[in-house]
């Protein structure tokens, strides 16, 4: 463990995981908002909106995240000059957040849509019968019930998002995986402890998160 006794390495380790948490948090919020809107688009009566939602899901779900992140950097930033911050680190961070959110929103959309399908048809029919509009039906009756059904799938999406945040290292955010690579290159005699610490930290964060979402899903499930 002598590697982590060195304060420089310890700082690098901590800041690596801090970047991961920041990326995960920012992207999770953005992807959730985007994904719920996309899901609403996909079940709406307006064909143009449905088409837009479907196209989004098919394009981004089938493209490797690595390619999306790569494009955010070389396409949006280098070629098109989209500049999100004066600070280079922060600029790369936001480019990464855009890539992660755009990709994750497609999965959130599909999860929410499958949640909508678990709500019994009678609920929607009753809502229509008392004269609620489509938007009211969705907002007051369907989405609250669907929300409870999608806790577990959204948990998996969140966990995957946290793991995927490592890919943003490709465009220069010094997150956990880049730090691990650097430490391994510098300390060839301690590769196993280094790997176990990094992998163990991810496992220590994500395994309990998984069980938490499983518990939450059971607790919130609509008993039918």
């Amino acid at each position: 463990m002598h590697v982590f006794a060195d304060p420089t390495n310890l700082d690098a380790y901590l800041s690596g995981f801090l970047w991961i948490l920041k990326l995960t948090g920012a992207s999770a919020v953005l992807a959730l908002v985007l994904g719920v809107f996309l899901a609403a688009f996909r079940v709406s009566p307006v064909p143009v909106l449905r088409g837009f939602g479907t196209a989004w899901v098919n394009i981004f779900r089938n493209t490797p995240l690595t390619l999306i992140i790569f494009f955010c950097y070389f396409g949006l930033y280098s070629t098109l000059g989209v500049n999100l911050s004066e600070d280079l680190d922060l600029n790369n961070f936001w480019l990464g957040v855009i890539g992660l959110s755009v990709y994750t929103a497609a999965f959130v959309c599909e999860a929410v849509r499958s949640g909508v399908n678990t709500v019994p048809a009678g609920q929607a029919e009753a809502a229509r019968a008392i004269g609620l509009t489509f938007f009211q039906t969705l907002r007051i009756v369907i989405l609250p019930q669907a929300g409870r059904a999608v806790v577990a799938p959204l948990g998996s999406v969140l966990i995957a998002l946290c793991k995927n945040a490592t890919i943003v290292g490709t465009i220069g955010v010094i997150e956990a995986s880049s730090v691990m690579k650097q430490l391994i290159n510098d300390n060839g005699d301690a590769v196993i402890p280094i790997f176990l610490v990094f992998a163990g930290t991810f496992a220590a964060i994500l395994v309990p998160t998984g069980y938490f979402f499983g518990w939450l899903a059971n607790r919130l499930a609509v008993k039918r």
Binding site: V48, L49, I142, I159, A176, A199
Partner: protein, 296 residues
């Protein structure tokens, strides 16, 4: 439970039709404006110039960059698929073992590799293992082994959920005719679970195929590396190359997804299908949701 989305709104009357038409037009115009803005931005950056797109009409672009890259991608994906299926079956059966000394280590292995980001695994194998074995590890094998460990663990959970959801009578009947535990697993439970979980398995294979793109990071010459990075280094057309390569990925993955949906419908029609919900409750949360597992 199977609410068709049309239940959400009434058959549109005159007012609703007008409103929908207005919404369509407003959103359509907005979308067109956005696309135009993107187009203009690209145009401003000179991305539509013929010289950047012309390479895709020339044979060497395809024979030297894109097709060899695609070949490596498919090779890594195919090897990873075979190995991760074997890994998945082995550890699913291990987790269901009667012996605690098999069950617990198998469970730890599966939980661990599911929680570790694939990129971290690939980095460890590519940069770390050479220190241990005193020799280089090829980029191909670091990608394939990483893919196998991660996707194999996810598949193990899918198989386990599948095996647990098979009616208990199947196993009991097999024991009753005098089969041993290993025979029951091999001849009765695993084949049925594999069939019931086929759509989930194919969806996971789509994930695996996409994940080969991580090979780019350790300079494995797959589609992203050859088709986007190397090609644009020669031609200076990174945006064009990224668009073409993305289209190839989307095409291949859509075909695989279509296959998964077709299998889903087929197994359902035959009357033997395990409802999605039963796959989830007592297994770990991802059990029923592997379809949506959006790893890189």
């Amino acid at each position: 439970m199977s609410m068709t989305t049309t239940v959400l709104y009434d058959h549109p009357g005159p007012r609703a039709r007008v409103r929908n038409a207005v919404l369509s037009v407003v959103f359509g115009v907005g979308l067109a404006a956005l696309l135009w803005w993107v187009y203009a931005k690209f145009d401003q950056a000179g991305q539509w110039e013929g010289s950047l797109w012309k390479p895709f009409a020339e044979a060497p672009t395809w024979t030297q960059f894109i097709l060899p890259g695609l070949r490596q991608t498919l090779l890594a994906a195919a090897t990873g698929m075979v190995l991760s299926l074997a890994f998945g079956i082995l550890f699913a059966v291990g987790r269901l073992s009667d012996h605690r000394w098999v069950r617990i280590p198998a469970g730890v292995v599966v939980e661990f590799f599911r929680a570790v980001p694939l990129l971290l695994m690939i980095f460890f194998i590519f940069y770390g293992v050479p220190f241990l074995i005193q020799g280089p590890v090829s980029a191909f094998w670091s990608v394939v082994v990483g893919l196998t460990l991660y996707n194999g663990s996810v598949l193990a959970e899918a198989f386990r959920a599948g095996i647990r959801s098979i009616p208990g009578g199947q196993g009991e009947a097999a024991y009753a005719v005098g089969m041993r535990k290993s025979q029951v697993m091999r001849l009765i439970l695993v084949p049925q679970a594999a069939r019931a979980m086929l759509p989930v398995i194919v969806s996971q294979l789509v994930v695996l195929l996409k994940d080969t793109a991580l090979g780019y990071i350790v300079a494995f010459p797959e589609l992203l590396q050859r088709g986007v990075n190397d090609l644009s280094a020669n031609r200076g057309n990174v945006v064009a190359a990224a668009i073409v390569v993305a289209a190839i990925y989307i095409l291949i993955n859509s075909l695989l997804t279509t296959l998964a949906n077709w299998l889903d419908r087929r197994t359902r029609r035959r009357g033997f299908r395990i409802p999605r919900q039963t796959a989830a409750p007592d297994s770990t949360p991802a059990g029923g949701a592997t379809v949506a597992e959006p790893q890189g």
